[in-house]
């Protein structure tokens, strides 16, 4: 019989410190970028300084002769086209990082510059240079849904009693992983590789390395004990990881290759921009009637920029036309809830603008338009009620521009979001119980910072009547049984079920084996507080019980079974801000995040995930923007100084509220990484607008964008 989650858990749902928390906080934990096996060489990439160019010639002869240089690899052929600043050309491995950088500078490249387009405006201009063959703008077919009896979208809008039109824009932002992309590669003989990789997918990375060098994947070991953030941008070895392994093969020594901060911004991935020209119509009472949307965005030189719209709400008549715009910029990669923050911003801004025009409470308007047959609707209703209470919506919120004396205005905003977060069904965990009482779990998943290692240990400890610190939770090794790649909030829902099954099976196997020796039938045995119980009575310690196994450990492999995890979450966030209308400065006062995610395994790590999501989201809301120079095609803020990210002093009070009810627990485990980052930036935009009485249409809510919106409204006589 498949295992089930305990009805009255002892550990699961409680707050438990991470097993590796102290090692991380004290600096003892070794990140992939800390790994320097004996003889390690430093790898440095040479990447394009131009946004668009043909490589006429590459001369590495001088570089190869430089002191300390052990290997040089040329990635592109002469005649190749470089399509963005940061595109890879060659790489050097040398004894020191400085030697490698000197050598990279000594590689002589003759470029033939080609005309470029690095912004959407440049790429969409009538006389734009060709970024990609087939056109810089790839327009999809309009997708239209009309309710029965309505012939056209115009006819639908004719039924609306109030209509708003607005254009809302979100810039390209980058992932800014604190640990940059990369790995350290070491060959063990001619056909075996060990790589310490900063990755969200140890097995995917191993497959990529094996494929590149035509060796069996069983000969490749990818290790990721801990890592410094991926957010969707670190699923493979990447060109620089493969190059590190190639340099290592050439030099016969390990090679450490991690991107510098500039290339991390340029080529390590980004979130597409999004602009939506929106027309939204409703009845007088706020019931939505129709949405017409023309949207576009850029995902770089070849990736799309799709995002969900309409978002969350049920609208009977919709039409949408989306265009992907290609620019000479690094490609987008999945970024924490791909598409959702953009869709949420555009939808929720339009919702608030329409509610304001109608003079209805935007909270009530949201409730009115929840999808009637969606299971999330009940969850939203519960979450909205809790969040409204926590922020003081009814008591404190005022209509637009009516809150505050002097230059400091107060505003409140909200946003709803949703996500899937269901697990994969083909992952496994092994559980070994040793005669010395030690317990080890293994799986080829990894901890990208979410506390995955601790989650598995909690499950084992729960079942075995032990403490999480009694469990060795061994992950981040590609040679273990298949584990989940950490994306889409799927790690915990994929890994918790096989973990529970593995541990339960191992316990049952142990009971069967030791029952005769402890004087009972297997069915009489149970575990509690570190003790073995026979017919409910404590007989011996866990360790003594394990000794009864004799010389042989027990190892069981658990698989996914139904009923332990689920998918589909809602979530609402509320924001309180003050805005100084003389300086355009937004101060976040309070953010309330009310979130469901089924059965929560570790409430401490869960709270931390939600807080972290909110912090990511407030950065999208207030600060982040990739700035490209139209003339040179360079990124102007490829650093962590002018690419702005909140520091401690920018943090508001963050209230995390878990919708942790019996009904939610009964759903099983659902992922939490993505959802809490979706709604924050949208709610901030709505709070700013509520404070100043003017819609700021361009994210982030910087002094420039706020003051420009106020000035523009003032020129039009609106404020």
């Amino acid at each position: 019989m498949a295992a089930s989650w305990p009805e009255n858990p002892r550990l699961i749902t409680t707050r438990i410190t991470r097993l590796d928390g102290m090692a991380k906080a004290s600096g003892k934990a070794k990140y992939p970028s800390d790994m320097r096996p004996e003889g390690t060489l430093f790898g440095v990439m040479l990447y394009s300084s131009l946004p668009h160019a043909t490589v006429k010639s590459i001369d590495t002869s001088a570089a190869e002769k430089m002191p300390g240089v052990k290997a040089v690899v040329v990635i592109v052929k002469e005649g190749a086209t470089l399509r963005y600043q940061g595109d890879d050309i060659a790489a050097v491995a040398a004894e020191t990082e400085e030697q490698a950088r000197d050598a990279v500078r000594a590689i002589k490249i003759v470029y033939e510059a080609l005309p470029h387009a690095v912004t959407e405006a440049q790429a969409m201009a009538a006389d734009a240079p060709v970024v990609v063959k087939g056109g810089n703008v790839k327009k999809g077919r309009a997708s239209t849904t009309l309710e029965k009896g309505t012939e056209t979208i115009d006819a639908a809008f004719a039924k609306a009693e109030s209509v708003i039109e607005g254009t809302y824009s979100v810039p390209v932002i980058t992932h800014v992983c604190l640990e940059t992309h990369g790995l350290t590669a070491m060959w063990d003989g001619p056909d075996k590789i060990v790589a310490w990789a900063s990755t969200q997918a140890v097995q995917g990375t191993a497959n990529e390395l094996a494929g590149r060098f035509q060796i069996p994947v069983s000969n490749v070991t990818v290790l990721t004990d801990v890592m410094g953030g991926g957010f969707g941008s670190k699923f493979g070895a990447d060109i620089w990881g493969l190059t590190a392994a190639e340099l290592s093969k050439k030099a016969g020594k390990p090679v450490k290759m991690f991107l510098d901060r500039i290339q991390e911004h340029l080529a390590g991935g980004n979130r597409p921009s999004a602009t939506g020209k929106i027309k939204l119509g409703a009845k007088k009472d706020g019931t939505l009637v129709a949405l017409a949307a023309e949207t576009f965005g850029t995902g770089g030189v070849s990736r799309g920029a799709q995002f969900p719209l309409p978002y969350v709400y049920s609208i009977p008549n919709t039409t949408r036309e989306h265009a992907d715009v290609f620019v000479n910029g690094g490609n987008a990669r999945a970024m924490r809830a791909p598409g959702h923050p953009e869709g949420c911003i555009i939808m929720e801004a339009a919702m608030d603008d329409l509610a304001d025009k109608l003079g209805v409470d935007p909270l009530e308007m949201r409730i009115k338009n929840l999808a009637p047959k969606d299971f999330r609707t009940e969850i939203y209703l519960e979450e909205i009620a809790i969040g409204a209470e926590l922020i003081g919506w009814k008591a404190k919120r005022k209509p637009r521009g009516k809150n505050g004396n002097g230059p400091i205005k107060t505003g409140y905003g909200m946003a709803l979001h949703q996500w899937g977060g269901a697990g994969a069904r083909d992952k496994q965990v092994t559980c070994t119980i040793n005669p010395d009482g030690s317990v080890e779990l293994r799986s080829a998943t990894q901890d990208i910072g979410t506390g995955a290692r601790t989650v598995l240990a909690i499950i084992a400890a729960e079942v075995l009547g032990l403490q999480p610190t009694d469990i060795t939770s061994n992950i981040g090794n590609s040679t273990f049984v298949p584990g989940q790649a950490s994306g889409g909030s799927t790690t915990t829902p994929s890994m918790a079920p096989p973990a529970l099954n593995a541990v339960t099976q191992a316990m049952e196997a142990m009971f069967a084996k030791i029952a005769p020796a402890v004087g009972g039938a297997a069915a009489d045995l149970s575990l509690k507080d570190g003790k073995l119980l026979v017919k409910g009575e404590a007989k011996m310690s866990w360790k003594d019980a394990c000794r009864k196994l004799g010389m042989t450990s027990i190892t069981e492999t658990g698989k996914f079974t139904d009923g332990l995890s689920a998918g589909g979450v809602a979530g609402v966030q509320f924001v309180e801000v003050t805005v100084d209308i003389e300086t355009g400065k937004v101060r976040l006062k309070k953010i309330v995040a009310v979130q469901d995610s089924g059965l929560i395994i570790n409430r401490m790590a869960w709270d931390s995930q939600v807080s972290g999501g909110v912090i990511g989201g407030l950065n999208y809301g207030l600060f982040e923007e990739r700035v490209m120079d139209p003339t040179t095609g360079q990124m102007l803020n490829a650093d962590m100084e002018l690419y702005k990210i909140a520091g401690a002093s920018d943090m508001p009070e963050i209230i995390v509220h878990a919708l942790d009810t019996p009904a939610m627990r009964a759903r099983g485990v659902i992922g939490i990484g993505e959802p809490p980052t979706i709604g924050t930036a949208a709610a901030i935009g709505n709070a700013v607008t509520n404070a100043i009485g003017v819609r700021v249409t361009q994210w982030p809510m910087s002094p420039k964008n706020v003051l420009d919106a106020l000035a523009s409204a003032s020129n039009q006589g609106k404020a």
């Binding site: 002097g406 400091i408 600060f623 520091g647 000035a711």
Partner: protein, 325 residues
Amino acid sequence: MRAFDYASPPTADLALKALAGGTDTVVMAGGTDLMNRMKDDVTSPGRVVHIAGIKTLAGIDAETIGAATTLATLVASKVIKDKYPALWQAASEVGAVQLRNMATVGGNLLQRPRCWYYRTGNGLLAMKDGKSLVRAGDNRYHSIFMTEGDALFVAPSSLAVALIALGAKATILGADGKERTVAIEELYSIPKAEGESELTVGKGEILTKVILPKTVGKSASYEAREKESYDWPLAIASAHVVLEGGKVKVARIVLGSVAPIPFRSEAAEASLIGKALTPETATAAAAAAVKSAKPLSGNAYKVKLAEVAVKRALLAAVGQIYWEV
């Protein structure tokens, strides 16, 4: 970063020798700016002369501040806080705690512009094919005053703004071993061609100290920025007023991060003379201060910020803070 010679002399005289002995030498105090420029290949000196270990250059003695005094030390000084609040406020908002622990007074005054065209290797004037990259590009952080010329970066020093408002001076140890004292504003000039510096302290010279006036009036600084944590001003203003019988007798009003040099607004100063300092007169002075602003394509918002910064610095100087809730 490229290889370089390094010297860490214990005295100023030895520092001068070390500076004279190398090619393309630079002085490093806290290194918070220089090291980043070196890592980014914007500055590649042949020799770095590190002066942080020269004891005579550090510390505060009455009105004299050693150039190698850290901003943390400056901010910890009660005298500075009470007597020269414009300076204290400007210093206390520089960077973040970690930076202020390393960064020095001299280094803050002589740091190079943060212009993102300069920092990405396009030169201080950022001209390409005879055209300004700044004018054609993203100039949200650039100058709004003196924008007729090619120098469109902004002078980055917050301390300079406050020190000029307070009427402070700087002492420079020349390559010949002789000291000279200049007004703080004389440390800066507007470069006319690529290759010229915006700093007047020459190669082989060391800024040794800053001297504040013994008697001062009321003063304050106000800085507008994007982030609360580590960030640069979008605009900063320092105001210094001497009141007599409730009327402004002397006013010095200086703006920062709005022009290629610290920008003193004589128009704003003149508008206040003989008047009481009130919200109305401060508002009028602020309007006068930005009358000559000529923003670029993407930074009109900074005119508003400069205006508000002047108004708030003036009102803060006389304790009329109306913008905090």
